[in-house]
């Protein structure tokens, strides 16, 4: 009985001892790892300081100015560019309705306007100029009967005669 007890205690001692050594070495490893990480962190922080300084150096107005001259040629915003806000820009005027034009022309007995002249840039520009007191025309989608094709349009015109 006492021999069994002795054996039990000896095994316990051996197991505890082994466990203690294993844990001790694990702790040592971990401590080394922490120390290494801490050192690396400090090195990294130094690196960050260095890079921040370099970033500031590369971003100094003088060098940005030189880079701009070389690659972008941007110039300071002129005062006149700042006078108008977004509210001052007029909405795009309604495109002249092709059908209405043609109808009007036909009514006046004029020959139909060739399709190449339908788009009148001058007229559009004129309309874009905001006139005092005149609210610019606003595009109204779907106003008037829609025209599906040129043939359709010609058919309608001939029908209206």
């Amino acid at each position: 009985m006492s021999r069994l007890a002795l054996l039990f205690w000896l095994i316990l001692v051996a197991a505890t001892g082994t466990a203690m050594f294993v844990v001790k070495y694990q702790v040592q490893d971990l401590e080394e790892k922490i120390a290494r990480t801490a050192k690396a962190t400090v090195a990294e922080q130094h690196e960050i300081r260095m890079l921040t300084a370099e970033w500031a150096y590369l971003n100094r107005p003088e060098s940005l100015d030189a880079m701009n001259r070389r690659y972008l040629s941007l110039i300071p915003v002129a005062t006149r560019q700042l006078h108008a806000g977004i509210d001052d820009i007029p909405l795009r005027p309604a495109p002249p309705s092709a059908e209405e034009d043609l109808v009007a022309a036909a009514a006046a007995g004029e020959p139909p306007v060739p399709p190449s002249a339908w788009h009148k840039p001058d007229a559009v520009l004129e309309a874009a100029e905001p006139k005092p007191g005149v609210v610019p025309a606003v595009a109204r989608p779907g106003s008037g009967p829609s025209v599906k094709s040129l043939d359709d349009l010609f058919a309608r015109i001939s029908a209206s005669r």
């Binding site: 801490a38 400090v42 130094h46 300084a53 500031a56 150096y57 107005p61 300071p76």
Partner: protein, 591 residues
């Protein structure tokens, strides 16, 4: 304890059986029993004590293992990541957080010559990395029998990498702290510089040395490096165009006293404070470190008329409609006070400012008197050194014995020298509603308005706005009109005093501009030292032709950055706020 011997006479007892010493099989009476009782009690007490101690140990173990007691935590705590080594000196950043000055851990190269195997080879290799080093010097150092020689201080990371790549045994690095100014000379006079031992020698570095050493958090300046760059570029342009000796400029927030930009040219590179200027080697380091804004004191000439006018209007000795005879020059003693832009007629107060009439200003001051002039100039902070976070601060020069002749000349800015900073602070107070705020180089929290000191009434301040606007609209500073920004201001062209005499050809041209005049926000001061007329300026070197156009360009460039939107200057509410009723219908001819 004694145990009474007893004979065990049991024939059947096992041989190895020994009766327990303290447990008599038979309780007998007599002295033996008493002894046994004592023994038991003692054993019990001891056992109880041990049990207690073991209980404590067991509880503690349970605490540590199961409940994560305090000891375990403190053990981990020892290995907390160490804070980065203090940078030695706090960083300095501008109002937008951009780095202005920082401390870097910089490697310096040294060698242990005893470990160097082949000095000639090492010298050759090192020369490849540092072409500027002297070959013989390195060679001598590497063959000496010392165990430590410096080879090169303060390397860049690239150089360190290159030296490591050489693979020469015996080359080693020692880390030193070095102050680095990424923007070089851009804000040199404000930031100043500090030496290798981390002591500030100039500027903020010197004045706030203790703060920078003790508080690791970055120090935020009120400067905006973008504005600083624009101001410096335009001033350099003025110096180049008019072959001036120097220039200075200041942008400040009139409502808080924050300085957004401060430039003094020529300037220096704080990374190499003593190095000669490659473009002008004749300039001494002292010339380049001289801060014209805070240390230089100048007779700023006609700019002073705004203080005279503010005094006369606030004290009530003049009104906007008072007129003064400007036909005849004033003769006092051996002095004659005349006008540069002579009109030879009676002028009202607004006209005196617009035409910059010395005679008119002198007469206004004469009505107010010496005492009032001293009082008001003291109030405007013009008779005491300016207050600012810099050590380079100049004291104003003014006559100790303030006589009538001084009264007259000081009225138009002669016979008194102040720093441009003082003039800017005083002018801010005139336009911002009458509150004087001390200038500061440190950023104030957004929306915070520091406590100021009332120096003139809000009504006088409103009149001053109208007068300054008039000068730009119709007076000597028409070229300052940055359309849309409602600029107002006052020019000043003074002859410099050299050896006790006014030197006619050596001018100091100054302009103080404020915008937008209907609701003053920012003040721009520009100054050119000894400008010379050119073709563009029709030969003039006066403020109106030199620094005034530059101020117009500066305002047009900085206003978008400051969030000031251009307005229609002819809009009724603006025109209304800045029109001088007494001049309605009168023609003011422009220059």
């Amino acid at each position: 304890m004694t145990i009474s011997p007893r004979i065990d006479d049991n024939p059947c007892r096992p041989r190895h059986f020994k009766p327990p010493p303290c447990a008599p099989a038979v309780a007998d009476d007599g002295p033996g029993k008493a002894a046994l009782e004592t023994c038991r009690t003692r054993l019990l007490v001891t056992a109880a004590l041990f049990a207690c101690v073991f209980l404590v140990v067991a509880l503690r173990v349970a605490d540590i293992v199961l409940l994560a007691g305090g000891a375990a935590e403190s053990h981990i705590g020892r290995f907390r990541i160490p804070a980065p080594p203090p940078p030695g000196r706090a960083d300095i950043v501008d109002r937008n957080g951009k780095l202005v000055a920082t401390t870097l851990d910089t490697p310096s190269l040294y060698a242990n010559p005893r470990q160097i195997l082949d000095a000639a080879d090492a010298t050759m290799k090192l020369k490849a990395v540092f072409p500027h080093l002297d070959r013989d010097e390195i060679s001598a150092k590497l063959t000496s029998d010392k165990s430590f020689v410096w080879l090169k201080r303060l390397l860049t990371p690239q150089q360190q990498f290159d030296v490591n790549n050489l693979g020469v045994p015996g080359f080693q690095f020692e880390h030193e702290q070095r102050r680095f100014y990424p923007d070089g000379d851009l804000a040199a006079h404000v930031v100043g510089y500090s030496g290798i031992d981390n002591t500030g020698f100039a500027g903020i570095e010197r004045n706030l040395d203790e703060v920078l050493k003790e508080h690791p958090a970055p120090l935020q300046l009120s400067l905006d490096l973008r504005l600083q760059f624009i101001l410096r570029e335009e001033l350099q342009q003025v110096i180049d165009d008019f072959t001036a000796k120097g220039g200075a400029g200041l942008i400040m927030d009139v409502n808080t006293g924050e300085i957004l930009a401060m430039v003094s040219l020529p300037d220096f590179d704080p990374n190499h404070p003593g190095a000669p200027d490659p473009s002008n080697p004749e300039l001494t380091p002292a010339d380049r470190m001289f801060n014209r804004i805070t240390l230089g004191v100048y007779e700023i000439g006609s700019v002073f008329k705004i203080f005279t006018a503010a005094m006369a209007l606030d004290a009530g000795t003049s009104s906007m409609t008072s007129t003064y005879d400007a036909v005849h020059p004033i003769k006092i003693g051996r002095f004659t006070i005349g006008d540069y832009h002579g009109k030879h007629r009676a002028l009202s107060v607004p006209e005196i400012l617009a035409y910059s009439s010395n005679i008119g200003a002198a007469r206004m001051a004469l009505e107010a008197g010496v005492q009032r002039q001293q009082d008001y100039l003291t109030r405007f902070g013009l008779l005491a050194p300016p207050s600012i976070e810099l050590s380079e601060v100049g004291s104003p020069h003014f006559p100790a014995n303030w006589r009538e002749v001084n009264l007259l000349t000081i009225a138009f800015g002669h016979g008194i020298s102040v720093t441009p900073l003082q003039a800017a602070v005083g002018a801010s107070a005139l336009v911002n509603g009458g509150i004087l705020h001390q200038a500061t180089l440190l950023k104030l929290p957004p929306g915070y308005v520091p406590e100021g000191r009332r120096v003139i009434s809000p009504k006088t301040s409103e009149q001053m706005r109208k007068l300054l606007r008039l000068v730009v609209e119709h007076g000597t500073a028409t070229l300052a009109a940055a359309p849309g920004y409602v600029v107002g201001g006052k020019t000043g062209t003074a002859e410099k005093v050299l050896g006790g005499h006014y030197a006619e050809k050596k001018l100091l041209s100054t302009f103080i501009g404020v915008f937008p005049m209907n609701d003053p926000k920012y003040l721009v001061l520009t100054m050119a030292d000894e400008p010379h007329g050119n073709k563009q300026s029709h030969g003039f070197a006066t403020a109106g032709w030199t620094v005034v156009p530059a101020t117009s360009r500066i305002i047009q460039r900085i206003a978008p950055l400051l969030g000031v939107r251009p307005v229609d200057e002819s809009a009724p509410e603006i025109a209304q706020a800045l029109t001088i009723p007494s001049l309605q219908g009168k023609k003011i001819e422009a220059y």
